[in-house]
């Protein structure tokens, strides 16, 4: 063929070839770089997705002092396992201890008075007995006898009064002891110290927004999942659900349904910012789970997938039967 003897034709073929090569190279769509960890994927056909947070089963205890005061000593650190009544921190008790000293001191004089009164009573009793044993009316006047008797009775009443004062002084001392006791903040129940926000020397105020310490039970954890109110009608109680913690999207933790909180609440953003952003309301569902092989911690965010029935249009039965049971109260 005559056309193939022309350089220009070969140039043209080369041009088309080069253009095609460049085009194929340029239009070859680069595939997305693989995610550094698996994105959370649902294991079910039809799901309701929710964002959740891991928390202790017993709601965390925000430790607060009974009175405001200077903190002198902190007995525990974060992560300590504590039993009930374990002292957590100590408030300044010097004032009460001083009071205790004066109250304590007030007891001893009273005791001395009581002792003194005892001898006084003994003396009068002896005197009265001696007077009574004398039958000679001339030797002992009726008047003397009566006076002595009255004196004895008076002394006895004085003794009673002193005893009461003594008891009162002791009670006053005990009051200070109890108040002193109160300055040592103790664990209301066993658990793990999750947070310690106080240090010795700080002043503990009443009703501060931040708890002084956070006590929780992390042995048994649960997940609190927030479902957008729009999706709330799709949630079936008892439906199977899984959760995956962020950055471990491929590891699924099976969940056991506990309850649905019956009140739809404004969503508190779980995005790490500590200011609360109210922009939508969410249905809160509580799930329990067994600890997986990898460590999980209270407060971690999780992605939750709850299975739902296929929409009616597909008409298929769900792969795993969900037996609708009564909602636990």
């Amino acid at each position: 063929m005559i056309v193939f003897k022309r350089v220009s034709v070969w140039l043209a073929v080369a041009g088309v070839g080069f253009a095609a090569w460049v085009l194929i190279g340029a239009n070859k769509k680069e595939s997305m770089p693989t995610p550094i960890s698996e994105p959370p994927r649902s294991p079910y056909e039809q799901v309701v997705a929710a964002s959740g947070i891991i928390e202790a089963v017993n709601e965390n205890v925000r430790i607060a002092p009974a009175v405001a005061g200077l903190i002198t000593k902190v007995f525990v650190k974060v992560g300590d396992q504590v039993t009930e009544q374990t002292p957590l921190f100590q408030l300044d008790d010097r004032e009460l201890r001083a009071q205790y000293l004066t109250r304590e001191a007030a007891i001893a004089p009273l005791q001395a008075q009581i002792d003194e009164q005892k001898y006084k009573i003994g003396d009068l009793e002896t005197q009265l007995q001696r007077l009574q044993s004398v039958h000679d009316e001339r030797a002992v006047s009726e008047d003397d006898l009566k006076r002595t008797w009255y004196a004895l009775e008076m002394a006895k009443r004085g003794d009673q009064r002193l005893h009461a004062s003594h008891k009162q002084a002791k009670a006053q001392r005990d009051e200070v002891t109890i108040l002193l006791e109160r300055l040592t903040v103790r664990a209301p129940r066993s658990g793990i110290i999750l947070q310690v926000n106080v240090r010795a020397g700080e002043y503990a105020t009443l009703g501060s927004s931040e708890p002084l310490m956070l006590l929780g039970e992390t042995e048994q954890l649960q997940i609190r999942a927030d479902v957008d109110e729009v999706n709330a009608p799709l949630v079936i109680p008892q439906a199977p659900a899984v959760a995956s913690i962020k950055s471990l999207g491929s590891e699924k933790i099976p969940l056991t349904f506990v309850r649905i909180e019956p009140y739809v609440i404004p969503k508190k953003s779980l995005t790490g910012e500590n200011i609360e952003r109210v922009d939508t309301r969410v249905l809160r569902i509580i799930y329990r789970f067994n600890r997986p092989s990898f460590p999980v911690y209270a407060g971690q965010q999780v992605d939750v997938f709850i299975e739902r029935k296929p929409s009616r249009t597909t008409g298929r039965t769900p792969s795993s039967p969900t037996t609708p049971t009564e909602r636990p109260s």
Partner: protein
């Protein structure tokens, strides 16, 4: 007679070269202009293609990618709840001001990627490791940010600057497609973005999602739209929406459109005229052939063969040269140049049409030709 036609075409080397040069130049002009225009359009949707995810979910009223209308945080979960969605992750995108140690200010686009997966990150980095973005205060710049902020001497891995009065440390330089506005892009994590941006009621700019394999992406997009009321687009649709916006709302459409149209007209005029001249000059030879008994049909076939041969040759050389031009100049990514097969096909069709038209004019002239011309 095809042989004779081709011999006639190739035989006169000077005339053939002139013809070829005209056509080549015309094709090159059109392809080059068109490609630059298309390259610009590609730049306008760079912030979409750079993220390279199949589905974008956002407010239904959105006009283009850089006009962000934030969504409620739960939108991610709502998208995840739909059938056919394989995954969905949040994305922050917004304008912020960066202040360099030198005191210079730069407007930047902050892109907050979901931290666990970093979906949407660029495929290539020039320097550093993209995963280091998970470190505290870490950000990743794109190469254009480095260029805009003063070059590698001012900004490099390890440079510390301020983002909205908060500390940011560069841990990597990513390689991305230049964008139309050329606003530097700063990547951070979604959580990091929340730290940098001023307090707003809503943060979530986009939900990026992927359809399950085997489910058509259009179905999933449609489902997201109808079931959540959010706006959902495929990557291509969103890109199209964005560059249509650029075309309509900026001067580029008009300016470039006229330039391309002019290039097209000029190119086609050159091509048509050159070829017409070629046949006119050969009229005497065609007359001789006609006198020797060649029918008008045969002559028409010969002219068409010549037209298409030279047309295709010019086309091939032209797109080859245009591609070489684009390949050399656009390699650094600094010049918009995006050749597409659609453009090449369009030019091919137009060129063949022009060849056909000029050949037809010649054929008509030939049909009217008195073979007696050969006796003069």
């Amino acid at each position: 007679m095809n042989y004779v036609a081709l011999k006639m075409l190739f035989g006169d080397r000077a005339k053939y070269l002139m013809l070829l040069c005209g056509l080549t130049f015309a094709v090159m002009l059109i392809v080059q202009q068109g490609s630059i225009f298309w390259g610009l359009m590609m730049w306008s949707q760079a912030s979409i293609t750079n993220l390279n995810v199949p589905i974008w979910v956002t407010d239904p009223g959105i006009a283009q990618v850089d006009e962000v209308k934030p969504l409620a945080d739960t939108a991610v979960d709502r998208v995840r709840s739909l059938d056919g969605v394989e995954w969905a992750v949040p994305l922050y995108k917004g304008l912020l001001r960066a202040r360099l140690a030198t005191g210079e200010y730069h407007q930047i686009t902050l892109t907050g990627l979901e931290s666990a997966t970093l979906i949407g990150r660029p495929a290539e980095v020039q320097e550093g490791r993209f995963e280091d973005i998970l470190q505290p205060d870490a950000v990743v710049l794109d190469q254009w940010a480095v260029e805009r902020m003063g070059g590698p001497t001012v900004v490099r891995v390890g440079t510390i600057f301020e983002l909205n009065d908060k500390l940011a440390r560069v841990v990597a330089i990513a390689k991305t497609q230049k964008s139309f506005t050329n606003i530097p892009v700063v990547y951070t994590t979604y959580e990091g973005a929340m730290r940098y941006v001023p307090r707003e009621r809503r943060i979530l700019s986009y939900v990026l999602a992927k359809h399950k394999d085997g489910v058509p992406v259009e179905d999933v997009v449609q489902r997201i739209r109808t079931q959540t009321g959010l706006g959902a687009f495929t990557q291509e649709d969103f890109g199209f929406k964005t560059y249509m916006w650029v075309l309509v709302n900026t001067g580029i459409g008009i300016n470039f459109g006229t330039t391309i149209l002019l290039g097209f007209i000029v190119g086609m005029a050159i091509a048509g005229q050159t070829f017409y001249l070629f046949t006119i000059e050969n009229l005497r030879q065609f007359g001789a052939l006609k006198a020797m008994g060649a029918s008008s049909f045969t002559l028409a076939r010969m002219i068409l063969l010549q037209a298409f041969t030279v047309g295709l040759t010019g086309y091939g050389v032209g797109i080859g040269l245009a591609t070489v031009f684009g390949f050399l100049t656009a390699q650094g990514g600094n010049l918009p140049f995006a050749e597409t097969w659609q453009l090449l096909l369009l030019v091919l069709v137009a060129l063949l049409a022009i060849c056909l038209v000029s050949a037809s004019v010649s054929i008509i002239k030939l049909a009217r030709l008195e073979p007696a011309i050969v006796f003069r």
